[in-house]
Symmetry: D2
Subunit: 374 residues, 4 copies
């Protein structure tokens, strides 16, 4: 079997997740291709060689520049910090590589536009790592909508809530720094919520939003008395209007007590509704209007072989985080084999970036703001 | 024991609920007073005499005018249509009666202002029937907040979702008619959500809202082919800012598939969070930041004798709809005995009316709108 | 409207619940009769007169003997301790009264047999207060089963778990004393579970059980150092076989940490399953085998006007503890008017008593034991 | 890094799961060893070579005999049918191999005893594939118990319910044939429930059980009119007593409508309780007796980095089925490196087999039966 040779830039948490998925995907999905973890790059030799060892790469190098030009690499996988996505991706695309870039695509719309333009020009396969939408229950929700089973969509709420930043003792870091992170909860996890909303319902065209920073200063490091100002948002609330006229709310928060990893939505249509929570991700709750009234109510449907990504023969056997990446790389491999574009690609990344920007503008100006057109 | 003599105007669903509660309250709450169901008025003799019989009133009359002036009546209880609230309440207040008025107080701010002014002038006890806030779990949520156990409030979501209007076959009626109902889902159930939000967090000062009518025409009556335009909202979505700076979303919908009677909120604070759903009303979910991290998570606390309105010795013995009215009338009786104002009174009704109006204006003008100051 | 004149013996918690329900029932249910709280008896004059005042009775007396013979009393309502049920009930039946007796009917099978025989002989209406089965969701579960919607019943689990006795500091009292209480968790709450199981599935014919006392000694009173032995069960586990061949487990526990008032069951049939928990009593979870497989799962059905005891027009409006008594008294009033026997009557009380005895014997002898035949 | 060379016998569903885990484990767990998928054996050449290709093995062979004696194989992984476990395992142990055997260890106690004896004699590492206990929430439940946080265990319920066999149209197959499967739901999934119970609470010493076959005949194949008798159980209910005196119920069912993969337990102790359901496996519900009473209730604790197998930095990131195997192979690799015995090993497999046998005997004789001593 032919192997796609991967050059990975970065080796943090996402590097680990991707490496596991590269190993697991061929058996999971019976792929037409396998993945060879060819070379991993990081900012210094220690990090890089350690990464090669623990993540199972054949080789390591310092710095990404050499990797994107190597002939023995087919795919550049970018798991480096957000502010270097553009440089790496554009170089890789220019070099004719397929590119997989972790989300968010960039730290601003202009950079995302340049990346999308480079991707269009390159003609290779490009993808952006919105992995959560690969949950079978989310795909199934979309299938139900697409098949008309839910009727016309009417309204939606999507949220992504965590609470890791609730304690004022959590020290300052790049995620609290607007200059490095772009936005706070909005870009970090809100981008998943926005992408999920657009995946289900199509483009968002107008937003009215509020951003809040609940903890304005944080210790410079663990236990320090030196306090540093937080310059991005702890929470985002968005009223959104979709191209279809559907309205909804999108919320993101990193200081929502009790919420650990709650990417959740409720989507109401004229014939039914669906409800999802990542924390119970094997389950899609579905209400159908045509149920006899005395037997109507939300059904807790456990994802199984009849549903998307039905890898296992028994429902609720246990879809996990890794499977989201496995499913991404299945799409990547298939797109490369079939010489077609992958989903979601840089265009989706750019669209999300435009929504993020509109949210920020709306919150700053305290009024409705149109999402900029492509 | 002295009995408060009740003159009730109207005899529909709320009339039934009130009548049950008048009978039950003295035993439930060990009240200083009992309630004598003295006289019930309705628009014709048949309705009125039937009401007296089934609701346990001593007497019935046609029309409300005579009731408000009777010397043998202490309290006027208004369960008549919204558009006659003002006339009845003001006449009763002028006649020196205590007045209990079902929500919403009025159909517009001007009427509500006149009613509140009349109430202030009368000096008798006045109340407005926001009964849901009497759920022990809601009161307990507020107690937790008030005691500082949740820290500073940060953000909130409140919603009231039902689905009785989801079917396009549901015929036209006054609830779909802006001229009679004022607003649709917004005023009918959204008013409960707004009152609940203000009960927990104080005044809302700014809103940005959208209203939607999903089903623009309905049959004039069951099975009819004659279609009548719906002139008020099926759904309302509000971004709200409270006086304290807290932000949140408030939503109401009467066409939310699968939702039957979901008055629900989530309130996040700097030290914890609470979560409530009327459909499981014996329960308050509470998260506390100071829990050891490996043991932290939302707790499902069942309301019992340690909590507000702890009527029964065992938690989850079963608080029902009737208890909300019993608790209202306990407050009414106590306020009358103690010669103090009751809560929530016409001022709260007026405040909700102002928010409703601001929501409508915001949706019409598609921008943030200030809630008018008192 | 004719009033049934009630003579109530006892005035504790059940006395309060009954009194509220007597007041509320006529309006709730549009009864053919109302209830006059005529006379309440208790063991001394202070308790009795206080009861008359707070519970709304016209009159009070000391001792029950005079009440059962009064001509101006139609129904004797027994809310006195279990060990006097027999004497009161038999006297009242001999005097030609209708009798409502709180559960458990008696403290042993022999007494229950004598009571049932007296009831048969009297020919008046008799009832035993298994109120929980009046939850709309339980009645609906039985309706679904009866209509064949669940197919043939296959197996069941029923439980009643509380945790009020979990702390070893809870002082000794009659509930921990086998000589006064008969059994512990088994009779107190297990009797509800057994009655619920038989209500759904018919007679239990064989049991194999274990009883456990987790806390063998308790302080004689709050804070006391004097320790008294507990002589009945903290927990009961029963393997049960029904006449139909269905098998199941029945469990009761008063020391089940975190459980407050969990009367719950799961009933599996060849065509579907139902699941109920009193703590969320507006809801019946239903699974149906003929659902399309990709849309199959437990539905959370909220009880409403389409379901049994649909008092209110909106599902989940809020069925509470009081409604169980209201519904009992509706049955009582209807049975009296229609001159028929009520359900559940002393025969059901006797049947439960026989199961309780079989459970005890099985646990003592550590083997399967047949429930004694009538 | 040294690689353990795996020889896998069989290539069905478990073969796939194992293969994925062999690939993923080194990156997941930062192992001291990696796994080389050296050779896979199946019953014919087509199956075997297809297996090598899709499961990522270097080589394939027909028949297991040659594999167990190869010098270039370190571990024999048995994913073949239950009735050949003994022959393969004993041969492999005799050949000095480490052996991983899928559950159940054998089809009867005698075979399991021979396997355990062979394992003791061999002195190599042996494991049995009770993977579900690797769920972080189950390990954490056991940790809480072990640390005394739950006090003394009092009672437990464990169940494993599925509904794949509910339809009478599901055709006959080996799982319905006592001669091939040993037992039905009992051995297939009940064995997981029993192992889980013993993992938490130690050895079960006595059982009283009932077995039921709900659907006595099934079509010989899909759509066939030829009906074949089912000779093993669709459901098992067990009353169990543990060595510690704790009592509980253990249930297994393959025809429990609405249940897809519900391995669930509730464990009550003198200081707290825990509750788990595989279908929501990221979550452990915990009740603690020392919580202030007004704040007490089950907490939904989401497993994260503070908990066992905290692979990811965020709770509820998503533990899946594959992780159970990854965690098994981590234990296998560590045991081999550390030259110690692995857990759970053939002794645990034997113990479960003894309980299964006692359950069968108890059900046949309809009385309590002691689990045979080692």
């Amino acid at each position: 079997m032919k192997a796609l040779r991967i050059g990975m830039i970065g080796s943090g948490l996402m590097g680990k997740a991707h490496s596991i998925a590269y190993a697991a995907a061929p058996v999971f999905c019976d792929l037409p291709l396998s993945f060879q973890r060819a070379v991993v790059a990081d900012v210094d030799a220690t990090l890089a060689s350690r990464a090669a060892e623990t993540l199972g790469f054949d080789e390591s190098v310092v710095g990404w520049q050499s990797v994107v030009e190597r002939n023995d690499v087919d795919v550049i996988d970018i798991v480096a910090p957000n502010d270097v996505h553009e440089a790496i991706a554009c170089a890789a695309l220019r070099a004719g590589k397929h590119v997989f870039c972790e989300k968010p695509l960039a730290t601003n719309v202009a950079a995302a536009e340049r990346m999308a333009a480079a991707a269009r020009k390159a003609g290779t396969v490009n993808m952006v790592g919105f992995n959560h939408r690969r949950a079978p229950a989310i795909v199934y929700a979309r299938d139900l909508l697409g098949s008309g089973r839910l009727g016309n969509p009417l309204n939606i709420t999507v949220r992504y809530f965590q609470d890791w930043a609730l304690s004022p003792d959590v020290p300052f870091g790049w995620r609290f720094d607007r200059s490095r992170a772009g936005t706070g909860a909005l870009g970090d996890i809100g981008s998943h919520a926005i992408e999920c909303a657009e995946y289900l319902l199509g483009p968002i065209v107008r937003v009215c939003a509020e951003l809040r920073t609940f903890i304005p200063f944080r210790p410079s490091e663990n236990g320090s008395k030196v306090m540093v100002p937080v310059t991005d948002d702890d929470a985002t609330i968005v009223l959104a209007e979709f191209e279809s006229g559907v309205i909804g709310t999108i919320e993101a928060g990193r200081a929502a007590s009790g919420r650990k990893n709650q990417l959740a939505f409720e989507l109401y249509g004229s014939e039914g509704a669906v409800m999802f929570d990542w924390e119970r991700r094997d389950e899609l709750q579905v209400s159908l209007r045509d149920d006899p009234i005395a037997l109507s109510g939300f059904r807790a449907i456990l994802m199984g072989p009849e549903h998307p990504y039905g890898f296992w023969p028994i429902p609720a056997m246990g879809y996990g985080y890794i499977e989201t990446f496995v499913a991404e790389f299945e799409e990547l491999a298939n797109a490369i084999c079939e010489e077609r574009q992958a989903e979601p690609n840089f265009e989706a990344g750019l669209r999300v970036q435009r929504v993020l920007e509109a949210v920020e503008t709306s919150a700053r100006e305290r009024k409705w703001h149109d999402v900029s057109a492509p």
